[in-house]
Symmetry: C2
Subunit: 181 residues, 2 copies
Amino acid sequence: FLANINPELQMDVLKQVTGPKLVVCDTMNLWISERKPQLLETIKKVDVFILNDAEARQITGEPNLIKAAKMILDYGPNRVIIKKGEHGSMSFTDDSYFSCPAYPLEDILDPTGAGDTFAGGFMGYLASVDNLSEESCRKAIVYATVMASFNVQDFSLERQRILTRDEIESRFSEIKDISRF
Amino acid sequence: FLANINPELQMDVLKQVTGPKLVVCDTMNLWISERKPQLLETIKKVDVFILNDAEARQITGEPNLIKAAKMILDYGPNRVIIKKGEHGSMSFTDDSYFSCPAYPLEDILDPTGAGDTFAGGFMGYLASVDNLSEESCRKAIVYATVMASFNVQDFSLERQRILTRDEIESRFSEIKDISRF
């Protein structure tokens, strides 16, 4: 997982990895404005690119997120995941689209680290099942959503520090229930 | 269905209806700012209140939509449906929450009438099944989403005029597929 940092460093890290099963990349507005050519070079080499709605619009110049996602897929990654905060997230490949609801929260204490926690939940689930099917990726996005929802309910890692597996599974089931019809 | 108009007129219409099975109400920013007491009186008497995210925030003064929805339920209706345009919609009762994705559209020609079309799809499905269960209401919201998605793809009623049942069912299935995990 190439966490958010200068894309030249991300590329440098990637060059040192031998035969990765999955390469996922994050970024931020700073690199889109200051290191765009280098960022586009890095994205070409990754399997999954995770970014938020503002970043997707910034990198493409396209306000419509469906169009923006397709443009980003053309940059090279096999899957693009666009996070929309309280509005959930969207995952695109050339032949699939998944809309994941947000976990409904009334109080958000601190959004710091939500994006990294989302990515960690996504990677962690996929590593645990060792399978990259569309079905596994969708479940990974729901677990990512669950993990991020806990993260924003306290400062730093306070909530994760006391988090139990049962609490994680319970929110996973809740997201299943709120999207069922 | 009390479509968007001065809430005093909505109330006047409602008084002339004998034993309705379901009363649904829409509104707009103008009545929230200019006729709020009368609007709150009307909402008390309806089963379902449909509004958009900006209106939900305006009527409650609460930026968090989950909290805003709970406040609106306290005003009297049994169900509140908050529409969020490209981000889909949310339905709340005292003991249920449903998150409905938007139908993904790359080109939107004219959003005029999308809210009325959404409400029409919701009412039409419920009238066709003559059943107000949570399950039926969720399906009604998905059909509402489908109908509104067609409406915004052309001006006036042009798209609806040539719309087929198969096209409606096809988008209903697509929404099922994009939210499946």
